[in-house]
Symmetry: C2
Subunit: 257 residues, 2 copies
């Protein structure tokens, strides 16, 4: 069976990006549900669907229901959906077992960050898929491949969890490092933008040559004088001192002896 008729629960950044991408790929979007009817109708209008704020009104005659809402409301929402409707959620963290009373269920996890008002090119998004049944898995792989992105990967919860953990290190922690850099620069009235060319080049180099090849700075050179100077400079903020020390230790694990 081929997935052609889809409904979406949610009207946030993930839901709206998925709705637009599927609509542009000639998938029929039947219903968009959101707690706030205005938000549901707003997206529904753009994709020729019917917006609603009542789960009971969702048309059961569809091939797939996508729950694209915050992690902590998935459990409550899915309990109100008919068991016979094939269903997926889009979370990297919530396990497959949240759907254990359904017949056909799975996870369709887009490994990307979505921003309000910004349309993401879905072809550049890796999708991780897990399901409760091999035939449904095949249907979902074809569905993503034909309508969203060629970067589809079947990944069980262990693998998805490991990718999520790696993403937290590479992505969430990097973002926080930029918050810290911004605050350090603000002390001298300098804008974070001064670091943009350096960061773009380093990210590019890390992906083309590998991050080990892009490692520079005092820790990898074991330049104790500069490191001590830095520690003195941030001395009033004990948590930053601790971060500086542990990061330097981790960087030095890369030094070949």
């Amino acid at each position: 069976m081929k997935i052609k008729k889809v409904s979406i629960i949610g009207a946030g950044n993930v839901a709206s990006n998925l709705a637009l991408a599927l609509f542009n790929s000639d998938i029929e979007i039947v219903n968009i549900y959101a707690r706030k009817i205005d938000k549901a109708k707003n997206i529904a209008r753009q994709v020729g669907a019917i917006g609603m704020d009542d789960l009971k009104l969702i048309n059961p005659n569809i091939d797939l229901l996508i729950i694209a809402v915050k992690d902590d409301v998935i459990e409550a929402l899915q309990a109100e959906i008919l068991c016979s409707i094939p269903i997926v959620h889009t979370s990297g963290s919530i396990p497959l077992s949240v759907f254990s009373r359904k017949e056909k269920y799975g996870i369709l996890y887009p490994l990307q960050t979505f921003t309000k008002g910004k349309i993401i090119d879905m072809q550049k998004v890796p999708f991780l898929i897990e399901t409760n049944a091999i035939d449904f898995e095949k249907e979902l792989v074809v569905f993503v491949n034909e309508n969203l992105s060629h970067q589809v990967k079947v990944a069980n919860s262990d693998i998805r969890g490991q990718i999520h953990l790696a993403a937290v290190f590479a992505n969430n922690f990097t973002t926080e490092l930029m918050v810290i850099a911004k605050e350090l620069l603000l002390k001298e009235q300098i804008d974070l933008d001064i670091l943009k060319p350096l960061m773009l080049e380093t990210i590019d180099k890390s992906f083309s040559l590998g991050p080990e090849a892009a490692l520079t700075g005092p820790a990898i050179r074991n330049d104790q004088m500069i490191m001590q100077h830095h520690l003195n400079k941030i001395g009033e903020d004990q948590q930053l001192v601790e971060l500086y020390k542990i990061m330097s230790t981790l960087i030095q694990r890369n030094i070949k002896t």
Copy 2:
């Protein structure tokens, strides 16, 4: 006085990028010095200069000598240069005082990472300038502005030191986070490339909307269950556990109460 005739000490990534950019901007490059004559001659040939491995042979009739070598050899090299030659180094860490016996001296620090064999677009590189004399400062600003990059900033050692510290956090530590992510993914035979679209989007968002707006993940949501799950998963590596905890604490300083 306008800087027109330049010599360069060094044949590494910074030296060769500067040499090519200046040559393409019609600056006359007189000498290229390197300890290894082959490396000096290789760059010299590309920019119409004379390559050499003997500092005594450097033509003193120039407007600027640029020392673009590793931090730890700047001191020894500069001691062998005539005091009357205007001189700068390109290091973010070495203080101006390394040149205190010269007449006109300064720092010309390109805030970028340079890779062997890769030509960097100098127009996208911010240059930080510090000198011992206001007239020389003006000459250097004009020199960079006309021949290298419009992003020139006069910055004393305190400011340059603070920018260097911010760059260590944003750049060196981010690179190490990508090394860690690569290792975490390798445990499941997954390539780091799977995180590329996510990281590029986050970096883009951090610079366009500010890094605080790009913060996602379990720490900023204070999702204790996922964080504990992650800590269990990396439990065998105590340094990673420590990093995860301190980064989560720092991220949570951004939560508005």
